[in-house]
Amino acid sequence: MNAAINKYLPLSETTAYILLALSEPLHGYAIMQKVERISEGSVSLGPGTLYGAFTTLEKEKLITKVGETDRRKTYALTEKGRAVIKEHIARVQILAKNGAFTQQW
């Protein structure tokens, strides 16, 4: 189980934010807006990037389609997706703790 998760880590910033945004099921543009907000403007997803990410994440079974309205598909995390983002955040937290001293620079 761990190897299946670890092969995806570390995630890119784009992927990490998409998975975080999917803490609730959302469709594409809603994810774009949420990521812009929660990243405090540091990550602004482009539609080409987001669409490509959906295709890959769905193929790797980290997310799944749960509905569709007006040509907008709603996605949600799978169990595997949850495990991946959880592990990624755990790692990033250790890194951030180690890097806290750089705030003095």
């Binding site: 784009t14 990550v43 539609p47 080409g48 669409y51 040509r71 598909k73």
Partner: protein, 178 residues
């Protein structure tokens, strides 16, 4: 409505130059209408507009309706297509004169930009055995007509290889990581 035609040719790795050219035309008041496979671009005259054009290379097994809806939601107008090339346009707020690197883009990271060029490479590489087979088959029948033809095909093959190399270089440039 005044319409003009311009003939230009852009190779797959020159899509950024094509985007820049379409932008310059729009700033001069000529707005992209259509493009044909032979490099004929149609423009309609209008007011100069601070527009950004972006090109994507679509994969046929993807869901086009969902794809286009996402772009539309994100404020990109779908203005045309040529084979798998998709043309999008967005107007930049007029009081901004951003540096090229600050202009809106449909890709927000280098990995997805590189993925676009990889999609093109996949098609080129898949077609390569077909061309090689055609050259070999024709070269085997030795008469003057076929030897001219096989020279043409070999020149084409050299260029084809050059195209593949340029695209690979572009992908590597975008995926350089520390």
């Amino acid at each position: 409505m005044t319409t003009i035609h311009q003939w230009r040719w852009f190779f797959a790795w020159q899509d950024d130059k094509e985007e820049q050219w379409l932008r310059e035309m729009a700033l001069a008041g000529w707005h992209f209408r259509d493009v044909s496979p032979f490099g004929k671009y149609t423009f309609e005259q209008g007011a100069p507009r601070n527009d950004v054009y972006r090109l994507d290379f679509f994969r046929r097994d993807m869901n086009k309706a969902e794809y286009l809806q996402l772009f539309q939601d994100a404020g990109w107008a779908y203005v045309g297509e040529l084979s798998r090339w998709q043309y999008f346009r967005k107007t930049v707020a007029d009081d901004l004169d951003p540096a090229a690197s600050d202009l809106p883009d449909i890709f927000s990271d280098n990995e997805s930009k590189a993925a676009k060029y990889r999609r093109i490479l996949l098609i080129l590489v898949a077609l390569l055995p077909i061309y090689l087979n055609a050259i070999i088959t024709i070269a085997r029948q030795q008469n003057s007509a076929t030897s001219v033809y096989s020279i043409v095909m070999i020149v084409f093959l050299f260029f084809y290889t050059y195209a593949i190399i340029r695209l690979i270089m572009r992908v590597r440039q975008l995926t350089k990581k520390l």
